[in-house]
Symmetry: C2
Subunit: 518 residues, 2 copies
């Protein structure tokens, strides 16, 4: 047994059972080991951004890490922006990055780079394993690091000779990763929060990492029912349990003015795995901090606390389970017909989301009305933007689908973002994933045209406009999807869209629908 | 005038006249300034790998840096692998990377990252400009750094407030970048090399960075004519002047055995901007260093020397310009017909390369026979793999075309590599670039199947095979290219290919031809 095989056995033993991969020469022994070790599903991405984005999507749904397999510094670099998103969204992830053989690195050959240096800005844990005997223990440490709350990015660098050399030190032993600590706020912190909520002031819980899933949301709903507080959430959320029967929650809006407005009347803001709200970008003459200066901010639970346990303690402190907990009703809009508008799109999407679906949302301006409209859809999971690096949605959809057999994955994509990692479509086709991608094609970076005014530019000239439009040529999403084996159609009217969505929802997938926005 | 405008003026004043861009909110003032400052051509890429690869291609042909415009840490990250290639190929490049406003960074908002840390592993020069008054001087320093021999990567990080704040300190002054030093080996080093070449031993020049362009190659040819030495070159070369009338040069082969063989008989190896040859990867039981242990290695010129000047001094020391300098004849193969084979492809490509064309080669195994066959084609420039990160060819083709109006750019691409940054096709269409892309589609990572055996794996199982094949589904390159506005056709026979190439060569482009390899 060589180091690569022992690495694989250690990952599988510790319940890491999916590996998203784009290997190169230095990873060939890992690839070969896949046929000697049972229990690892390997999924090829044609570009590393697909690989890491898929690992993010997998973690959001499976609540445990997948592995990735990446080829030296440049392969890692290609996956970094989706690793950034995963880190900001608190997804656990284990990156296995091949390197040159240890004795070869000193020659500084063309593919050599400082892999630890490349990994560090976007990773929580980075280690180069020195040899085949160290691989298993280091892999177990990587698993433990990834699982640490609230979810971490761990990168294990695997020199080629550590992979190909036989294991001589206890080759039969596969180490078990340490269980993560699950710290909870102490009793006095819970009591303090309960007292704040009992004062009668206008109070709000602000939910962050991992606190917007069904169980913590229900607990937050109990607190709200007992005390009358609002339930806010951070603007960018990796996953929210939404729709009929779920607890209503108000994410802080993205635009600075709207965010300030949403927070304006809050006298006491209680952070539950969240941080004090700040603007995503700075704008001239607008505030960075969004909270009213008069608001008192109290941190009940840090992001690395067990936020569900913290909310359970708080809910119990607030009294017995209330019978009047607010939940969203089922209220489906009528299906719109005729010309396509953003409002009609929102109504249609809200009407058709199937029960238990997973929605990945990167629809940006075109889909701006969908979240509000779909709050009363059939219950579903909503995976949103986390780190703000665009192009995540189709890769995240790949991983979410692999983590969620039996659930429909609907990716709401925009054309500008979708062109970042369109290769994800190929993996959807190869793995026959039950994914429906809806691309809203307005042929421009519409958000940037809005942001241009937000940062104080009052006139967009021709040269600037050419960097904000993505027409000339117009992208043919139907041809693009079909080129990678994904069945695709274009909707010219709401009636088309309605019919195409119905067909796609009963098809095992994958499918893509292009929706031109004019 | 604000900082962004002063930055643009400084770049243009210092002959940086093309900016490959994918901007975001933090770069909106730079974008707006484009309409107020003349002289900068801005080219949009739909993904940052296209942006940085195009800057690499531009530099290889223009012999001066382009700028890039990138959006914070993740935008830079998406461009890093092609920056790695550019760095290894010694291409000068100036990256302008937007960041949050200085006062906003402390809030660690979702798009925040350690941009300097992200840049450092793949850059030679990194600086964050602190405010609008420092921008111009820092931009001039970035230009100077990029121009330093043998060509460097400089990254200037531009906080949003440094871009949008008015310049108050000498706003009318635009600084001139320092001219790069062009060091040459001293006379004793030249004399020593000349003495080595005169001993009658079997000697070879080994040409590296920037030494395989027409002028230094011709000088190396004079040395060879006077002394009988061989002319070798590094395996991976950013640009080589080849074809009829050019000096014959032997690049060291990629496979370890062939490289060792090529170097075996050399008694004296004289490095001219090159480093001692080492294997690209390490393999079990194969050497890392390729040079015969008995070979004496002498460094005439470092990579950061003016290698052309060094060769001129050496050629003069070796005697008057020889009249018997060897040059390649014009010898075009007959056009093959019938079924498509790799050998026939090589003959056809060699037969049709137009005079003065620029060939970008990432054809890997499918095109393995092309370089030898095209050595006697019409004179042309050959842009090859440098850093070994795949997917460079179409982006490099974009930049090469923009730097070389009036010259045909032929991109020899493979399907595995081409799927890394297919978005480059869109930029070809938007900019109406005179580019012909020929995609050799074998539906597999063929090189990895060979490398698997090279690293000692004797059996490829089903799970491993699934990571090395990229069929299921087969990629339809014609549909893919057309989806991005590039006219495309498929060649099923050599006769098809011959006809399609002829048509594409007289078309102003862009065009793509898919060549299935079965």
């Amino acid at each position: 047994m060589n180091g690569a095989e022992n690495l694989l056995r250690t990952l599988v033993h510790n319940n890491v059972e999916v590996c998203f991969a784009n290997p190169g020469t230095s990873e060939m022994h890992f690839v070969a080991a896949l046929d000697r070790v049972d229990g690892m599903r390997c999924v090829l991405g044609l570009f590393e951004g697909v690989v890491t984005g898929a690992a993010d999507g997998y973690a959001r749904m499976a609540r445990r890490p997948a592995a990735t397999l990446l080829h030296l510094g440049p392969g890692l670099a290609n996956g970094l922006s989706n690793i950034h998103n995963a880190k900001r969204g608190r997804s656990p992830m284990i990156n296995v990055i091949g390197d040159h053989a240890t004795y070869h690195r000193r020659y500084d050959t063309p593919l050599t780079s400082d892999i630890e240096g490349v990994a560090r800005p976007f990773n929580d844990w980075v280690r180069t394993t020195p040899n085949s005997n160290s691989v298993a223990a280091d892999a177990a440490d990587a698993v433990a690091a990834a699982r640490r709350l609230p979810g971490q990015i761990a990168s294990l660098i695997l020199p080629a000779d550590a992979a190909w050399t036989p294991v001589t030190d206890r080759p039969g032993i596969v180490p078990t990763a340490a269980e993560p600590e699950r710290p909870v706020p102490d009793g006095s912190a819970i009591d303090a929060a309960e007292r704040i909520l009992r004062t009668g002031n206008r109070a709000a819980l602000l939910l962050g990492a991992n606190a917007t899933l069904e169980e913590p949301l229900e607990l937050a709903g109990r607190v709200a029912a007992a005390t009358g507080c609002r339930i806010l959430a951070e603007t960018m959320l990796a996953r929210t349990s939404r729709g009929a029967g779920r607890t209503p929650v108000e994410p802080i809006p993205y635009p600075v003015e709207a965010a300030v407005q949403a927070l304006h009347n809050v006298e006491d803001l209680i952070l539950v795995g969240a941080t004090t709200p700040v603007g995503f970008f700075a704008y001239p003459d607008k505030p960075s901090v969004l909270v009213n200066p008069g608001t008192r901010v109290y941190e009940l639970a840090r992001p690395d606390h067990d936020v569900t346990a913290a909310l359970e303690l708080l809910a119990d402190a607030c009294g017995p389970a209330a019978t009047n907990r607010a939940v969203m009703p089922l209220d489906l809009p009528a299906r719109p017909t005729g010309d396509i508008t953003r409002e009609k799109i929102a109504a249609l999407v809200a009407a058709v989301i199937p029960e238990n679906a997973v929605v990945v949302d990167e629809s940006i301006t075109s889909g701006a009305a969908i979240p509000a409209m779909s709050a009363t859809s059939h219950p579903h999971e909503w995976l949103g933007t986390t780190g703000g690096s665009i192009g995540f949605a189709m890769p995240v959809g790949v991983g979410a689908a692999i983590a969620s057999p039996g659930r429909k994955v609907i990716v709401l994509e925009s054309d500008g973002s979708g062109m970042y990692q369109p290769q994800a479509l190929w993996t959807c086709a190869r793995e026959k994933l039950d994914v429906l991608v809806i691309v809203f094609a307005n042929a421009k970076y519409q958000i940037l045209q809005l942001e241009m005014y937000n940062v104080g530019v009052d006139k967009i000239g021709d040269k600037a406009r050419a960097l904000l439009d993505i027409d000339r040529p117009t992208i043919d999403w139907v041809a693009l999807a079909r080129s990678m084996g994904v069945e695709a159609h274009r909707a010219e009217t709401m009636d088309d869209l309605s019919r195409l969505v119905d067909a796609a929802l009963v098809d095992p997938g994958p499918n893509l629908i292009e929706v031109p926005i004019r």
